[in-house]
């Protein structure tokens, strides 16, 4: 799973994070390092779609929060991936 928007949503699923924190978190849980351009491309798209929103802060580092719609989208994606993985695992067993 290397879709940057899903990785960002997955990162925000357990709490608000700013860009650098997301980058570190994603590298930790997915072993994928998102470049700054890719990360902010994903953040821009997610915010446009209303799946994340900025949290008020005085800091230069802007934290983001996943919205209800974003969480719903992430759940759908996870369910879909889970289905695919289960089928793939079953087929591997029978191969």
């Amino acid at each position: 799973m290397t879709d940057p928007t899903l990785l960002v949503l997955a990162s925000l699923a357990d709490g608000d994070k700013h860009g650098y924190a997301m980058m570190e978190d994603i590298q930790r849980f997915a072993a994928v390092r998102l470049g700054p351009g890719t990360l902010y491309g994903a953040i821009t798209r997610l915010e446009e779609r209303g799946w994340i929103r900025p949290v008020n802060t005085e800091d230069r580092r802007q934290p983001y929060r996943i919205t209800g719609a974003g969480r719903e989208h992430l759940e759908e994606q996870v369910a879909s991936l889970d289905r695919v993985l289960r089928i793939a695992a079953k087929r591997l067993k029978h191969a």
């Binding site: 860009g19 470049g35 890719t38 821009t44 779609r49 230069r60 580092r61 994606q77």
Partner: protein, 268 residues
């Protein structure tokens, strides 16, 4: 490295920079940026530049300007055309009993229309086009039927219009016969031919009806010196309009997948 990436970040659209610039710079300060991040930021800037509404507007304007320039250049490549014209006067055989201005005009107009219908009929024009000494529309005849060429000649190139209602002679009406063509000698020759056909037709109608009108040539077909100037501004405006339209259409199509993506995802 940080300096290079900071410079690359300035390639993002100004509106994007205004919204995300400060936090993006904070991320660059925090992250241990590498060479490959430079390529990543350049790619990100390119994507943002090509997917913002402002860039679409710019693209549409650029397409409009490009098309306007092309249309303007194209208008200079259009071959010159020359218009030859002659003026004729038609008047009743005997002066009208009613001396009020305009009396008898309808009769003359009707006679003119009748002559015009015969002279500019498809068969008559086909024979004119094919006359060996004229041999008109050679290029067009290669790609169009002769009937279509005759139709084009009638609707676009030959013009017959009234030349002021009054001609100094009571009850008379003057009209202009004009024809435009890339060869000015042929243009004049066609107008001469049309003048001759009007004279013949007037005689035929006079014999049929028992009383003919008088048809006089006031100005014989001239040899045009200067070509008709093509409307460069018209071409340019049309090009601009078409370019803007095409640009907007192209950008709307380009933008569409992004609008539809959330719905398709939700449907999964």
């Amino acid at each position: 490295m940080r300096r290079w990436i900071g410079w690359a970040a300035h390639l993002y659209p100004a509106s994007w920079r205004a919204r995300y610039g400060a936090e993006f710079d904070a991320l660059l300060d925090d992250a241990n940026v590498r060479w490959r991040d430079l390529a990543d930021v350049l790619r990100g800037a390119f994507i943002m530049q090509t997917t913002s509404w402002k860039s679409y507007t710019k693209a549409a304007v650029a397409a409009g300007i490009a098309c306007a320039i092309l249309a303007l250049a194209g208008s200079f490549l259009i071959p010159n055309r020359y218009e030859s014209r002659a003026v004729m006067r038609i008047s009743p055989q005997s002066p009208p009993s009613d001396s009020t201005p305009g009396a008898g005009d309808e009769d003359l107009r009707q006679r003119l229309r009748q002559m015009e219908m015969n002279i500019l009929g498809r068969r008559a024009l086909v024979s004119l086009i094919q006359e060996p000494e004229l041999d008109l529309y050679r290029e067009e005849r290669r790609r169009m039927t002769i009937e279509d060429v005759a139709e084009k000649m009638r609707t676009h190139d030959i013009r017959i219009r009234l030349y002021g209602a009054r001609t100094g002679q009571p009850g008379a009406m003057a009209f202009v016969i004009s024809f435009d063509y890339p060869d000015r000698y042929k243009a004049r020759q066609v107008v001469r031919e049309l003048v001759g056909r009007f004279a013949e037709m007037n005689l035929v109608l006079a014999q049929k009806a028992g009383s003919g009108g008088k048809l006089q040539l006031l100005e014989s077909a001239d040899l045009p010196e200067a070509p008709i100037p093509p409307s460069h501004i018209g071409f340019m405006t049309a090009g601009l309009g078409a370019g803007l339209l095409l640009g907007l259409l192209a950008t709307l199509i380009w933008r569409r997948p992004k609008w539809t993506r959330p719905n398709s995802n939700q449907a999964q």
